[in-house]
Amino acid sequence: MRRGPASRLGKRNALESAIGLGLVIVGVVIVADSRSDYHGDRGSGTLGPGFFPTWTAVLVIVLALLLIAHNTVLREEPSAGGAADDVPEAPPPHRWRAIPTIGIACAYVGLIPTLGFGAASFLLVLLCMRLERAPWLQAVAIAAGCVALGVVARDYAFIELPTGLAGL
């Protein structure tokens, strides 16, 4: 069933509130970690390494709470008819089509130390292009080109790329 603009907006608000809550937790952890270093080693009159993170984290907590309040209390839940204008131009958050791409990127980064940069890059490009229904020949050629790019980066730009099992 297709969701209406009001439902999309409601879900977006809920997700934004979740982000806000996450930031509040991060802020509290940082305040707790930084408080002991607030004054540093030279006594209460000086400012230590914890001074700046403490106040920045307090700012993050306050703003995150404001964001949560804005999304849950202050913002009126729009009616189905009047909500269309308020729906942002960016893709609605219920579309998570980036997840496969993110998954592939994570797998790629995870595989590099084992397979080596060249082999992992070859697989990445081949997989991405085949998912986009590129012809096999084109996919293999571009994947091989990317491996060549890695060799150039290693041999001419002197970047130490992991070699792994494949030795490439």
């Binding site: 080693d41 700046f52 920045t56 700012l59 804005h70 960016a90 496969p100 791409t101 993110i102 986009e132």
Partner: protein, 492 residues
């Protein structure tokens, strides 16, 4: 004049080579939708550490201003901006292309970009050194307020929500605090991890936020333009070119002044220039249907903004845009401190960079006009090829700076953050600016409070400080007011 003394450095084959490569890459990046100058500069930032500082800076700067030229090609031929700053160019550029006058639009865009970019550079050359002398009189507390003002202006102009803008900057500042304390050397926010002692690398953060974040976000977007591949006759008549000269000059003035202010991006000034041209035109109804002024105005403005943006960067070390924040990161990685001392202590770097931009502008004119048909072919490269290549280059970029695989994971983490920020409308510019300026903001704040023995009145102890504090408050109130007005207008 110091600039003339450094001409030998500017026209050395090495500088010319890197300037040429930079503008070529910049044009390519500008032409290709889905990859911006900030991403490209971030990916290549670490690679440039293998070069001399001047060569690296010249190449990165070339990518930045070169992309402004390239962006117009995509706007005109595809009705889809290669760069955000070229959105407005499409309003009249694409109708011109549909009328078979794509060549005319591309030529006017290139000439306007060249004229505005060069005038901007002349003004930069004339004012950079005198203004840098002025910067010597800025005291430590005032310098802190100046950086804070730059951040609040960027926050107030970026995105649709002020809360999200400030939150973005605050989280960026938190990221900047991880690692060793710059004053005492004590570890903080490392949670016992040795890997975090060196903090998050700026290169990893910028590559993740801009390059990977964009790839992830584009995976959800299915917007594709329709390419008008017939360029037609390239050169318009002399009368047509002379007709847009006043537009070029007006847009240069708008773009140059706008570029001096943090947060005023080339895209903002291109909108303003377009609006001004439409308002003063004898027949405003021509706009949107293929008016050459509608191409010359925005293109001139965005290039002038690009040139003048180097003034706050090189004089105060304040980057007015995310791309220049990456360039500031490059300065810091090379061990150079942009600021008033740059012109007196490293004149070869300061003037070499400015001088290379003159040469780069000429190269861009040569690249953009005769090679326009080649760029049309480049436009046919599908995004499915670009996306994995960007991921691959991001890994290379992240690894090349410290050769630490942890940086690759950090890049991926920032990629996710960048994706979520785009998705939920959090502006990226305040975060990247906060990450690059964070250590300096903190050091200046703590030094100021040490000078005053902990008293916050040090920030309002002189007229400059009071004026800066007022401006900070005004920028935030102005940002809030602007958003309320926008929301009100939308509701109406």
């Amino acid at each position: 004049m110091s600039f003339l003394n450094e001409l030998q450095t500017v026209f050395s084959p090495e500088v010319m080579l890197w300037a040429g490569l930079g503008v070529l890459l910049g044009t390519l990046v500008g032409v290709l939708p889905g990859i911006g100058p900030t991403s490209a500069m971030a990916m290549l930032l670490a690679v440039t550490t293998q070069m001399t500082p001047l060569s690296g800076l010249v190449m990165l700067a070339g990518i930045y201003y070169g992309s402004q030229y390239g962006g117009s090609t995509t706007s005109i031929l595809m009705n889809m901006p290669g760069e955000v700053s070229s959105v407005v160019t499409a309003f009249d550029g694409y109708p011109l292309a549909r009328q078979g006058k794509a060549g005319h639009a591309l030529t006017v865009a290139a000439i306007s970009s060249f004229v505005a970019g060069t005038i901007g550079l002349v003004l930069l050359t004339l004012f950079a050194e005198p203004l840098s002398n002025l910067a010597f009189y800025v005291k430590v507390p005032d310098y802190f307020l100046l950086l804070l003002l730059a951040m609040t202006i960027i926050v107030s102009l970026a995105g649709r929500s002020l809360t999200k803008g400030i939150l973005s900057a605050a989280v960026g500042l938190l990221f900047a605090t991880v690692g060793l304390d710059p004053v005492t050397g004590t570890p903080r926010l490392t949670f016992g991890s040795d890997t975090l002692l060196n903090g998050f690398s700026f290169a990893s953060a910028s590559i993740g936020l801009f390059a990977l974040g964009e790839v992830f976000f584009n995976a959800e977007s299915s917007v594709r333009g329709t390419l008008v591949s017939a360029v037609g006759k390239l050169y318009p008549s002399l009368r047509e070119i002379l007709g847009v000269v006043p537009t070029m000059l007006r847009s240069t003035a708008i773009g140059f002044v706008g570029g001096l202010l943090p947060g005023v991006s080339p895209s903002t000034t291109s909108f303003i220039a377009y609006d001004v041209e439409r308002r003063i035109a004898k027949d405003p109804s021509r706009f949107g249907k293929g008016a050459l002024e509608g191409v010359a105005g925005p293109e001139g403005a965005n290039n002038a903004t690009t040139s003048s943006g180097f003034i706050p960067l090189m004089i105060f070390g304040i980057p007015p845009s995310p791309a220049l924040a990456v360039l500031l990161g490059a300065f810091l990685i090379y061990g150079l401190a942009p600021g008033p001392l740059l012109f007196s202590q490293q004149p070869d770097i300061a003037w070499g960079l400015i001088g290379s931009m003159y040469a780069g502008n000429v190269m861009l004119l040569a690249l953009n006009l005769p090679l326009v048909r080649m760029w049309v072919q480049v436009l046919k490269i599908p995004y499915r090829i670009l996306a994995p290549v960007i991921i691959l280059l991001s890994v290379v970029g992240a690894l090349s700076l410290r050769n630490n695989y942890f940086d690759v994971w950090v890049t991926l983490l920032f990629g996710l953050i960048g994706y979520l920020m785009r998705k939920f409308d959090f502006p990226l510019a305040p975060m990247i600016l906060a990450i690059v300026l964070g250590p300096r903001v903190e050091a200046l704040l703590r030094r100021s409070l040490q000078i005053s023995a902990g008293s916050w009145t040090v920030f309002v102890s002189d007229p400059v400080g009071i004026a800066l504090c007022v401006l900070i408050v005004l920028s935030l109130v102005g940002g809030l007011w602007q958003r309320r007005r926008l929301r009100h207008d939308q509701f109406d």
